[in-house]
């Protein structure tokens, strides 16, 4: 380990330079104008993998944004790990709130600021560099490695499932390893063993065949914004409970053991509220903050728009209004079923004079891992090696639809080793990634890869 760690120190500046080059590519998968940037980011990965010493590096077509594959398969009899990551990033708007431009990475206070720094280019890059270090120092890897770095994670991994099905043999492995989750805190590494799923939709309301003058028509005709507001306000009760019929069906209650474990993490609601400058926290009654975040589903309106948005006033009765919605799902909730229930709710609550269109969009299943698996237990030891503290076992409120995809397709454990922090503004302006976790994370990963073959007895595979 000493030689490895010295190697990582010597190459640190060079590694950061390469990461900055990658972060400079605005690979926003949601926006079609960035299509060629997304591909450029894929080519960067292919090149980085080849340079690191991997073979068969290939940008593979999926029907959407491509997947980058590479492998190193010269450890016969040893386990094969499939490393998953994504090179696409969230849209960067609102741009005016960024202190430095989202695609001009800058290091300040030992943090690297850029869209994608924390989610997920930084952590993905660390796997490449940890394995490259082992290859350079040892001349070989102690196990077999395959990479699957995709470009559609931020838009629901629309093509990945069919793509993996089609190339099932090429991607076959004993274990999937992903770094796209967060640690519990800067000094508290954690192993995430549960993720929420996702179900997205759009609601479009239309009324008259044209915008209308509010003086001439006001009082006698429906207003699309009024209709949308009335409709959206039926989705939650005032206390935060989701009122879509059947939304909570089949969700298992929390065990006393889980409630106890989460309570022991001593989440500080006051500090949490203060850090977000909120006048109050708000969520489903009867659950603590961690329970709400990790074990309860949500229905969030992510965007709303209609009518006049410019300076001043415009006396118009808008004939169109729109809302974008995503739900976070927990085990036993099925995205298709949830979208159907929302659709039925929307149809049952369509206001007078409005025509409502419901469009289902991305979806992903929730996931719960077998957390007593040796590959998951080893992850805890790896963190302890690099951070000097015991890793906590947690769940997470976010969604990685592919986790469920890998689980369903390959029937193998998915290990989630996160290095991001919750306050690193991924999906918001001023996204950043801590270089403390970049450095310690590289050591954690080196330890993990070196010890995995011994931890995994043939029976546990």
């Amino acid at each position: 380990m000493k030689a490895l760690e010295r190697h990582l120190e010597e190459r640190r500046a060079q590694h950061l330079e390469q990461l900055i080059e990658w972060l400079s590519i605005p690979s926003v998968s949601a926006l079609s104008e960035h299509k060629s940037d997304v591909r450029r980011a894929a080519l960067f990965v292919q090149n980085a993998l080849t340079t690191a010493g991997f073979e068969h590096a290939e940008v593979m077509e999926t029907g959407g944004h491509p997947v980058v594959y590479a492998d190193w398969l010269h450890a016969p009899g040893k386990p094969t790990v499939l490393v998953y990551g994504h090179y696409d990033v969230q849209p960067a708007d609102p741009l005016h709130l960024w202190e430095t431009p989202p695609f001009e990475p800058q290091i300040r206070d030992n943090q690297i600021y850029a869209r994608g720094a924390s989610d997920d280019k930084g952590p993905t890059f660390m796997h490449i560099k940890a394995l490259e270090a082992i290859l350079r120092i040892d001349g070989h890897l102690p196990l077999n490695i395959k990479f699957c770095i995709e470009g559609e994670e931020e838009v629901g991994s629309a093509h990945l499932s069919a793509f993996l099905e089609q190339h099932k043999t090429r991607f076959a492995a004993d274990l999937v390893l992903i770094s796209d989750t967060t640690m519990l805190g800067p000094d508290q590494p954690s192993i995430c063993y549960g993720l929420r799923g996702l179900a997205a939709c759009q609601i479009d309301v239309r009324t008259a065949n044209s915008d209308l003058h509010s003086g001439l028509y006001g009082g006698a005709v429906p207003n699309a914004i009024h209709a949308l507001v009335e409709l959206l306000d039926t989705l939650h009760s005032k206390d935060g409970t989701i009122t879509v019929d059947g939304f909570y069906d089949n969700i298992e209650g929390l065990s006393a053991e889980e409630r106890k474990a989460y309570a022991e993490l001593q989440h500080d609601d006051k500090a949490y509220q203060a850090s977000l400058a909120l006048t109050a926290l708000h969520g489903e009654p009867g659950y603590s903050t961690l329970e709400r975040l990790w074990t309860r589903p949500t229905l969030e309106i992510n965007g709303i728009y209609g009518g006049f948005q410019g300076e001043g006033t415009k006396t118009v009765i808008p004939n169109e209004a729109h809302a974008k919605i995503t739900c976070r799902l927990v085990p036993n909730q099925n995205p298709e079923d949830i979208l159907n229930k929302i659709k039925a709710h929307v149809e049952a609550h369509t206001p007078t004079g409005a025509k409502v269109t419901f469009t289902p969009m991305d979806s992903g299943h929730p996931y719960l891992a077998p957390y007593d698996h040796p590959a998951i237990q080893l992850a805890a030891n790896a963190y302890t090696h690099a951070y000097g503290v015991k890793a906590a076992f947690t769940r997470m409120g976010g969604s990685i639809p592919v986790v469920e995809t890998f689980s369903q397709l390959f029937h193998i454990p998915v290990v989630l080793m996160g290095f991001g922090l919750n306050d690193e503004n991924f999906h918001a302006p001023n996204e950043h990634f801590s270089l403390v976790n970049f450095d310690k994370g590289l050591r954690t990963l080196c330890y993990y890869y070196k010890h995995l073959p011994d931890a995994l007895s043939p029976q546990s595979l």
Copy 2:
């Protein structure tokens, strides 16, 4: 009259060419990027008035967009008419719904299509041309004329009141004449004797200090869009009644006589609904469509925005959401009082975890004219001369704040002779103005100006 009408026929093509030149100037008063266009439109008016034979034409500063003044005061002992109009126009968005660009006027099917064609460049232009015709044919006018053509009507005439107060002597007159209202139908001229007032505001909701990731925070923190939706949905009951405390205070009920007069106009609700492609009309219970439009107040959300509005999905919990609102007011409602009541409502209904800012904006008082005044009765005769049918006496749902300003400042009657039609899409894409009403309207105005001195006995002034 014959010579006048022949003159108007001969000059028709030339008049339309001039009007098209004026309509080509995007004088959008609400948008600061069009400031110089607004001034260009004022200079056009100054030039058109001078060419027509008026004197002292001047672009006068107001602190906002300028007012254009001109006069012809060579009829001592005769009444003085102040002609009011406006050269500013509504914003043209959404641009993609225009069949031809809003500022590239086009004549199709005897309609002129352009932003401002009907509201209010077309009708304002007709006054200039009717009086120019009389000057050319008779060599003089039968009465004194002053023009007050402003550039802030579409943004609530913010500076006009103080401006007129400051130049009270210059603008003093016996009568104000305005063409900025609509006729009841293409073959049914009408004299409008009542207008609704206006009260505008903006509501801004803020929650956390940044947009948040819906996976990591979803379920535990407030969402600014949810808060805005919850707040806005408290402004109306489901049936369309406004639920702001005290909103309807002091409004006089409709007299049996008025209800009968409006019922006799036989408004066709079915055809009205069909023409707007609506699945239902929607408004305050207990009132007919005309009663709702002319005699009842409204509260309309004109615009709403917050969070992600791009393609695809973005799993964000927005920390800001915004709404723009305007109310139409009826006699005995005071704009400041109504805005205070909405503010109090907003404060009383602020949802958990939200910070709400209320910003009052434009306002204007409602107006009811003395409709037995001879200058108003003569207007009916002028329409009968040009259209061959009796003019109806109506009220209108729109607002012209300056009508109340003129009424309060000069204590003189305001005569509203409209030539627009309700389906001419002012304030919406594809605004147009009927050239039938352009032609007949010019004749109506010539008749009116020629006969006004006789109709107005010294006692009636």
